[in-house]
Subunit: 136 residues, 2 copies
Amino acid sequence: MKNNDDKLISRNMKPTAMRELVLNALLEQNVAISLSDLEKKFDKADKVTLYRTLKTFEENKLIHSIDDGTGSVKYALCAENCQCNPHDLHVHFFCIKCKHTYCLNDTPIPSVTLPLGFEIKTINMVVKGTCANCKE
Amino acid sequence: MKNNDDKLISRNMKPTAMRELVLNALLEQNVAISLSDLEKKFDKADKVTLYRTLKTFEENKLIHSIDDGTGSVKYALCAENCQCNPHDLHVHFFCIKCKHTYCLNDTPIPSVTLPLGFEIKTINMVVKGTCANCKE
DNA sequence: AATAACTTTGCAACTTGGTTGCATAAACTT
DNA sequence: AAGTTTATGCAACCAAGTTGCAAAGTTATT
């Protein structure tokens, strides 16, 4: 757990019990997770606390949020030294069968040429379909 | 208005008064519009009716919906013969200054190579930044 | 033209995700 | 140990999206 403390500290957050639990939950996960998913993983935990914990994690770039079009925002751990710059960004994949949202960490977002005068700041790219596990 | 009737009829919808009004509102617009935006354009109109009208339009591929990450789904007219297939899809642009969501109809979504076993069905790609109008 | 059958509209009410305010508890400072 | 800051928990709220049901409007059938 010392390990996780360091993760929090290196991102300028105090390693409280709550934060460790949440970070742990995120580490266990190989898919992105919503606030209510997270809530279900704890017997007794206040939604607001979890909400604020996620917000704090996000602000400090320990996790990033994904809008996968399901209506609930998902969260996933950032890579070690991620600064959430455009070139840090990867494609996300939503499986319409198992409803899981994956970070395709090795699939960078392809570049787009925008019309004149449009300036890019960030991109959200979500591919939907069936994942490797659900392929029949 | 006969014009619009045809649009509705050709997409297999009965041209009711409500639908014509909504279609008209959409035609006036050069940006995508949310349900509550639409609501504001009518003095007296039930949210649910507008909601169902949009749903009907979407089902019949007269409009498409865009999840621009703002938390409210936007809608915009499809091109004439759009079938909303992956190759019909275009990039959307959300301007962080004026908060408008544009269809970049001439900017097709670039192709991505997914990890083995992942099969693409559709893509949502939203670029965020500043639009041509907001460029200083 | 009258009745039946179906479709669309409007109202009420609800669900869910996200959020704020405030009081308590915990941690850090001196 | 007292005071200050930070984190947590509860209640309550807001907005977006949605469903059920009854009334109004349309279309089809005789």
